[in-house]
Symmetry: C2
Subunit: 474 residues, 2 copies
């Protein structure tokens, strides 16, 4: 049987699951259900004997999160493609297709979003396997989710005949794409058995997709080809040429190619599926007896409620609530009626306009070398917790406006201050005077945790002069 090359799209950043999902750390990387992130679960779902290593398409800001999460899941990607900016799914999918085609022009690709939930992984893989012959024969197979409610937020795929009950053996002909419907039309479509949700999942041969693009989206294809030709390799990432990439039309793969191609088939998927598009969807996926609890929560006389505590040590108590969603983080708390879950996006946009930091930024800031968080901010001082991965190093740097005290509380650091290099271990401290050229590394095998106390008149992240950086940052 042919091997499938999975393509995981994880460059998007929605805000409908704010405060858990933010621009700086969007929902695909959050552990929304259980221990794994949605991205990790998606990568696991598309692994095993049927699949080659995945090609991951992500944004510059998420490249280290994606790499770290794959590594934690024990998955080595075939490639990590970096989109210099988001240009919708058309450009992203073509970039991955061209990248895989360079090694095997007839390779079979499965494109999948990385922020959806498909709990029955084997059932999904069986459905994919059943579509392989059709894809090998030159069809673009799009997967259609059997709807369980008249959802107005999705596009639909129309079949020529109603689905039979039971498992579908092979892809079916597509009659038409249907745009997001109104409520009445959605209800009619769910009733007639001929309509499936467009799940954004595609199986195709690389050469078939490229040929379709050459006919239906030639300028998009040309821009992506040129951008890939000009790509730079950087620490295992493949960074597409930003100047050319910026000229690619921002258009979805559906609009660019699928709705115009004549070789489309639909493979129905009748298992459970959710795009976790808002907190109401998370509630649907996680509720038991009507209540969905996560973290340190207490629910008294609550019905239809989602309560989540997303921080260790933060307890959420609900009393006498009906159809309410409450999500608490140390810096932001959302309380909304479940029917208004879709409005979260608009509220976050308005918070952003008001300059509220919480609109886009997470308390924990992920960097290539690990992460940090601000523990306290005062007049002329800030306290941070800094965690450095084994073998990782921060840039060689200096500051114009602050001095720093470092106290190692776990592991061992190798610290450079001007000419001096020394090992600093648990319960030892170092002082970095204002202006000193310094670097922090973790030479050990365990994470290194350090408390940094900054003092100075200006403590912004942008007061940094970088002299050397293994991650090629400026």
């Amino acid at each position: 049987m042919a091997t499938i090359h999975p393509v995981l799209l994880c460059g998007g950043s929605g805000t409908r699951l704010w405060p858990l999902s933010r621009k700086s750390y969007p929902k695909q990387f959050a552990a929304l259900l259980g221990e794994e992130s949605l991205f990790q679960a998606s990568a696991q779902r598309l692994s095993g004997s049927l699949f080659a290593a995945p090609t991951v398409v992500t944004a510059d800001a998420f490249r280290f999160i994606a790499a770290e999460q794959l590594s934690n899941s024990g998955i080595r990607p075939e490639a990590l493609l970096i989109e210099p900016e988001g240009r919708d799914t058309g450009a992203a999918i073509l970039a991955a297709t061209l990248h895989v085609a360079a090694q095997d022009p007839e390779a079979l690709l499965l494109v999948a979003p990385s922020d959806h939930v498909i709990p029955e992984a084997q059932r999904f893989r069986d459905t994919v396997a059943a579509a392989i012959p059709t894809a090998l024969a030159g069809q673009i197979v799009t997967f259609g989710i059997a709807p369980d409610r008249p959802e107005t937020g999705y596009g639909y795929l129309e079949l020529e005949t109603a689905l039979d009950a039971g498992t579908v053996a092979e892809p079916l002909p597509l009659a038409a794409f249907v745009e997001k419907p109104n409520a009445a039309r959605a209800a009619a479509m769910v009733a007639d058995g001929r309509h499936l949700w467009n799940g954004g999942l595609f199986l195709f041969r690389a050469d078939v997709m490229i040929a379709a693009a050459r006919v239906h989206a030639p300028s998009l294809l040309a821009a992506v080809e040129a951008s890939l030709a000009g790509a730079t390799r950087d620490l295992g990432f493949c960074r597409l040429d930003p100047a050319i990439w910026a000229t690619a039309p921002a258009i979805s793969i559906d609009y660019a190619i699928m709705e115009k191609a004549d070789n489309l088939s639909v493979m129905p998927y009748t298992g459970r599926w959710s795009d976790l598009g808002d907190w109401a969807a998370v509630w649907r996926e996680t509720e038991e007896d009507g209540t969905a609890l996560s973290g340190a929560t207490t629910a008294i006389d609550c019905e239809g409620v989602l309560l989540r505590s997303e921080a260790p040590g933060q307890r959420v108590v609900g009393i006498g609530l009906q159809d309410i969603v409450a999500v608490a983080m140390p810096d932001a708390v959302l309380v909304a009626h479940r029917d208004r879950a879709q409005d979260v996006k608009a509220v976050v946009a308005s918070l952003k306009k008001d300059g509220a930091r919480q609109a886009e930024t997470f308390p924990r800031d992920h960097r290539p070398w690990g992460w940090f968080e601000s523990l306290a901010m005062g007049d002329r001082f800030q306290v941070k917790r800094i965690v450095v991965h084994p073998g990782a190093a921060l840039s060689l740097q200096s500051h114009h406006h602050r001095s720093e005290h470092w106290i190692v509380v776990q592991g061992t650091a190798r610290v450079t201050v001007n000419e001096e290099v020394k090992l600093v271990t648990e319960n030892q401290s170092v002082y970095i005077p204002l202006g000193a050229v310094h670097r922090m590394e973790n030479p050990g095998k365990l994470p290194m945790v350090l408390i940094e106390v900054q003092t100075g008149a200006y403590l912004g992240e942008d007061d940094i002069v970088r002299y050397e950086d293994v991650y090629a940052r400026q």
Copy 2:
């Protein structure tokens, strides 16, 4: 005109305003409405030309909070009496009465809870003044609040005749005490105009109250007298003798004396009053157009809602809520239907049973010398922010299980480590090795802020050996 000695009762610790009010920092000390705490507002209300300095009765755990808040309000108390344990209002009021009587047996006292809201301070003072002649003549005057709703949570005072409209010129005879009624009885009482809420406010001559106690509560009086005779003076506090105090019956002043005395009068108060007994009451006192917002909050399409963010940097967003109360702190978030506000108390009791730290303890821990809070807790380390008042000093101490790094980020510290004493100022650090005898003082005129990083196998507050303590703690 006679001078009134105010007695402020602030030893209680309710949990119905959890998470803002907790056993370790109850509601009277919280800034529930505006900048001042309820205790500070109460002390201010009972100051001015009519009043002597207040006598404050509080619990051991709150003595430094009470003293600090009075000092911040520029009020020097006549005395700070410490109840070794809570024995209800009977013992507390008699202790204050005996204490004032020792200097002036016929002194006029006004006893007031310190966690109520009486926004029209001058109007209240005028009402008190109008009751003075009656109190001087030997009556115990209890203040009755004109009810604006059929509240079932309060006791009522029954008058012989219905109140006339307008201001009442002098106290009226009391017909009877009425226990907390059911809803129908409450509605009838509010309608007949002859019933007032029992507000727990009393004006009386010390000798009159003592004489009443001698008749109606002789064993209570004897225990309080002996406890006061055995009191110890300690840093400006008067600490009642704990062993004798423990023998005093725990009984309210109403049950012990008021309901038995024959010299009672009622002074009606027709201004606004609230005991802020639960979050629904806080909503009533603070709502504008139905919505009560405090701190960094955003309310979209909310009706009848209270949203409070009690931590700097924590934003609370409400969407599409009706009659919901949401109060957020870094370690605890309450979301409740407003009609269920009374149930908060029971929930906190159940949290306590489950061992949840948030049930009773506040993130910020107040001490005689200032306060501290834990910023981060890890495996074998803890980071604290410590704030020391000008002129204050921590005890001379050592630890068996931890070393400490101190970094001064504001002000100047005088630090003792074994034999050495030195000044440490902003951006300087000190290391306290395990076992070293050490002390931290603030010799300056401004608050001193210090970041402490502890490392060790055990970091509990009880790993402390105290050698000297200006606050007489063991």
